[in-house]
């Protein structure tokens, strides 16, 4: 982290960049927030640890409008989002100085809390330099431990890899965290009966409070005005009055990013109700891979995505019924 800070200060000092977009330490051990650093003294609060899960590429939409370059810290998975946004002309490559930061998997405080750990005073083992496989959590109810891997976000277990797709320089080591099959959860649902599937999603989606966190955090959901906020389709909704609206929102949300979603997992990370929203996006990704060939959004800058492309021999929609 110190290397990152030093380099950032250097680039700030020599005028290469006008500001640095990174993370600022929070007032609890686990809540750093995305922040801009413009002056040397601001860096006192700069932090990059296991809780810096936020994907900063979306902030680059606004940062691209500012004067001068913004140094942005992007984790390997964030760089996919950045490229996708570049493709869509939503961020300006010229306005970004990308430092690819290393990643050893990001932590999910909800997972730690789900282990019954509460009253957290401090957490050690989450620093990026730490080699520790275990987190030690000091709480007002005593000291607790848990393995780093168990506290990791779901997305890190199915990591796309620790290579940065785009960067000006890379600082920090990464460690492979993939230890699960990306589509296993989707396959599990696919294997269910229609009734089970319906019950599963009905239950999960019934928790949705339409806070729009999933949408607003999503780098692919970068519309100036979302279709769910406008009268273009008479579809503006602020609440799920009927359970239909839960399905409508989440199907369309996922559909609109289908072929563009990099599977960064931010939607599931931020959902206050813990809805596994990635299951929607990943279903589309799995279908695209199976039906139209392996595709990873954000891995390149080819303008056409699977949904803005076609082959004469594409499968017919009837395949869905045939697969059954």
């Amino acid at each position: 982290m110190q290397e990152l800070i030093n380099r950032a200060k250097e680039l700030l000092a020599d005028g290469t960049v006008a500001r640095v977009l990174g993370w600022k330490a929070g007032d609890l051990p686990y809540n750093p927030e995305p922040a801009y650093f413009e002056k040397e003294e601001d860096f006192a609060d700069f932090v990059y640890n296991g809780f810096c899960g936020a994907n900063l590429s979306k902030y680059m939409i606004e940062a691209s409008k500012l004067e001068g370059k913004t140094l942005v810290c992007l984790k390997p998975c964030d760089t996919y989002s950045f490229q996708e946004l570049m493709k869509e002309h939503r961020v300006d490559r010229e306005k970004a100085y990308i430092i690819g930061v290393g990643c050893k998997g990001k932590l999910d405080i909800e997972k730690i809390k789900a282990m019954g750990i509460k009253g957290i005073k401090s957490i050690s083992g989450a620093e990026i330099e730490d080699e520790a496989e275990t987190l030690t959590i000091n709480t007002i109810y005593g000291e607790k431990t848990c393995s780093y891997a168990d506290a990791m976000l779901e997305r890190c277990h199915v990591c796309k890899g620790k290579d940065h797709m785009i960067f000006d320089e890379v600082i920090g080591e990464s460690k492979e965290t993939k230890d699960a099959d990306r589509f296993a959860e989707v396959e599990k649902i696919e294997a269910m009966s229609p009734e089970e599937k319906f019950a599963f999603f009905q239950k999960e989606l019934s928790k949705c409070i339409r806070c729009n966190a999933c949408r607003n955090v999503c780098p692919a959901c970068s519309c100036r005005k979302c279709v769910f906020d406008s009268n273009k389709f008479d579809s503006a909704q602020k609440a799920n009055v009927d359970s239909f609206e839960e399905k409508m929102f989440h199907i369309i949300r996922a559909f609109h990013v289908a072929g563009r979603c990099t599977d960064c997992g931010e939607c599931s990370r931020v959902c206050p109700q813990g809805i596994p929203l990635h299951l929607f996006n990943r279903k589309f990704i799995k279908d695209i891979n199976e039906l139209y060939g392996e595709y990873q959004a954000g891995a390149d800058l080819e303008p056409r995505t699977p949904l803005t492309n076609y082959e004469f021999e594409d499968v017919e929609p009837g395949i869905v019924a045939e697969r059954g």
Partner: protein, 347 residues
């Protein structure tokens, strides 16, 4: 004071639910929220905070106000019926009960919100003390005693294998009467509960936010705070989602919308709104808060300045800490208060 063995709680819930609707913390797909009790509901009294505050029991996320039905070339208006049945909310925490008080000062003053008032009239609150407060809690800052939910109709404590039960109001007495055959009188109860209260208060003292100072927020500080350049920085990570407002026990803003249900007419309904949304209070000419900074500022100014100015200095934050836990960008009211403090310190 009464008590009931933990193992008999299901019987208690059955008994209550036989007569009226019962809302309590229910776990669905891994998350605890207040919901209607049913035989197969997974009741969870151990999780300290429901994701959403229980305010939706009185102020639902959406509710139909009236329906317009076209009848030839005429239009018939059918108002939605007000709540007429009694119901019980079991397991609200002291902060949430205080949150209801905040809502009351909005909805129960002139002009009276009849939908809300009807629910308040028919609802009985059975509160539960917080036995294991967490690091995100700061209710004490706003004068809430996590150990003693005294503003409820019934206060309860879960100590060991017993639930201790104390009726505090007439409604509370009535409910107690209705379930009396499941409760047992316990002379020693007061003492047990007092001991627990002290223990809870002891924990509260250790919480990191407990001694958060509100200095600088009271008094005539509106313009000073409104114009403070600090807002220019604070809002930046905000994603403009509505998480903080929707989990909050005191946020009371709503929007009114129409839904065309075809043959069933056009339903006019209200639903929670969030000042974080870009179309919040959008009018025909546009929006009077054009930037996210202004919208972000609105939320905290409302909680800490505008509301107290109109309500005898009562803040419209109860320190439940839900926003601290749930904000996707890790922003929250505590960080705002602290930022101003820090700045104050430097000045």
């Amino acid at each position: 004071m009464y008590k009931i063995a933990k193992e008999n709680l299901t019987a208690l819930f059955q008994k209550i639910a036989a007569e009226q609707e019962l809302y309590l913390p229910v776990k669905t797909a891994g998350q605890v929220n207040f919901g209607v009790w049913t035989e197969d509901a997974e009741v969870d009294l151990d999780t300290l905070k429901s994701v959403k505050s229980p305010k939706d029991v009185f102020f639902p996320q959406s509710e139909t106000l009236y329906t317009c039905i076209r009848d030839g070339k005429k239009i018939k208006i059918e108002p939605e019926a007000l709540k007429e049945q009694n119901f019980v909310v079991f397991g609200m925490k002291a902060c949430d009960v205080k949150g209801v008080e905040v809502l009351d000062r909005v909805f129960l003053v002139d002009p009276l919100d009849t939908f809300y008032a009807a629910r308040r009239d028919h609802g009985t609150i059975v509160a539960l003390a917080c036995h294991e407060p967490e690091e995100t809690c700061f209710c004490k800052v706003f004068g809430v005693d996590a150990a003693d939910p005294s503003a409820a109709d019934v206060a309860t404590w879960l100590i060991g294998d017993e639930l201790y039960w104390k009726a505090l109001t007439e409604k509370g007495e009535a409910l107690t009467e209705a379930v009396k055959d499941l409760l047992t009188e316990d002379g020693a109860a007061e003492e047990t509960v007092e001991k627990e209260k002290e223990a809870i208060r002891g924990i509260v003292e250790q919480l990191p936010y407990t001694n958060l100072s509100l200095d600088g927020w009271n008094g005539d500080v509106l313009m000073e705070k409104f114009e403070d350049p600090l807002w220019d920085e604070l809002y930046k990570p905000c994603l403009a989602c509505g998480t903080c407002t929707f989990v909050c026990p005191t946020c009371q803003c709503y929007d009114i919308k129409d839904y065309d249900a075809g043959k069933n007419g056009v339903q006019r309904y209200r639903c929670w709104d969030s000042c974080m949304y870009s179309d919040f209070t959008m009018m025909a000419h546009g929006n009077n808060r054009k930037s996210q900074k202004e919208r972000f500022r609105q939320r905290f100014m409302h909680k800490l300045v505008y509301y107290p100015a109109n309500n005898d200095g009562m803040y419209s934050c109860v320190g439940c800490g839900r926003c601290v836990e749930k904000c996707p960008a890790s922003l929250n009211i505590v960080k705002v208060i602290k930022a101003f403090q820090k700045q104050g310190g430097e000045q």
